[in-house]
Amino acid sequence: MSDDEARRTADVVLDLPARPEFLAMARQVVAAAAALEPTFRDERIEDLRLAVSEATTNAVEAHAHLGSDERIKIRCNLADDRIEVQVLDQGGGFEPDETSEPPEPTDPDRLLWERGLGLPLMRELADESEIHSTDGGTTVRLVVYTPRRSWGL
């Protein structure tokens, strides 16, 4: 691979109203962007689709709590070894460390747990995930590597 190829990247930016009915569009655009890279397997695109849905749902809910009508930005950076997705909202933010984990699936209390699965799912499905939350909003960064990278190491 030449240096030029290694540095080749492309950005896709989506600017959406922070409303639930736009979640499907966010998933479709990110999945379509990932599908441009032929070495991504469908399974990894599904992982990314789900992780993006979780991040964007959190963003929509952060705005809902405020009752504001701000917008959400989704930035996909496509490189030949990975896709990086950033979901940026301007909601109230939250402290990731304070968000407790759900009980184990075998724990009877698990049935009472209707929420809180989003963050563990994002961590499980993306190769890298990072949440940066401030009073001014939250940025979630998700990275999924192509097989080329995984095999090469």
Partner: protein, 111 residues
Amino acid sequence: VLVDVLVTSRDGWVVIAPVGDLDLAAAPQVRGEAVRQVTDGNSHLVLDLSGVEFVDSTGLGVVVAAAKRARSAGGDVRLCGVSGPVAKVFEVVGLERIFEVFDDVAAAVAG
């Protein structure tokens, strides 16, 4: 309407079949239908997910909420039609261990 929810009954079970993505946009409608059925005295529910190609944690929350209400009313929720990406999500969060999952509605109703 973001998701179609088909409701039928079969051998004493009420079958709720959402068609579309089961996410934050669809959750209130599907959850509402399940709650309405239990409130009306139908606490034996089959959630037929054969028309669902995508589910996220909010959608899973609907399944859990339906099961909670049905079980507290003396009934149960049985799942069927779980395949592809939806099955993968169930597996990742371990939900397949606390729900009986059947191939189709007939199998779910037969138990």
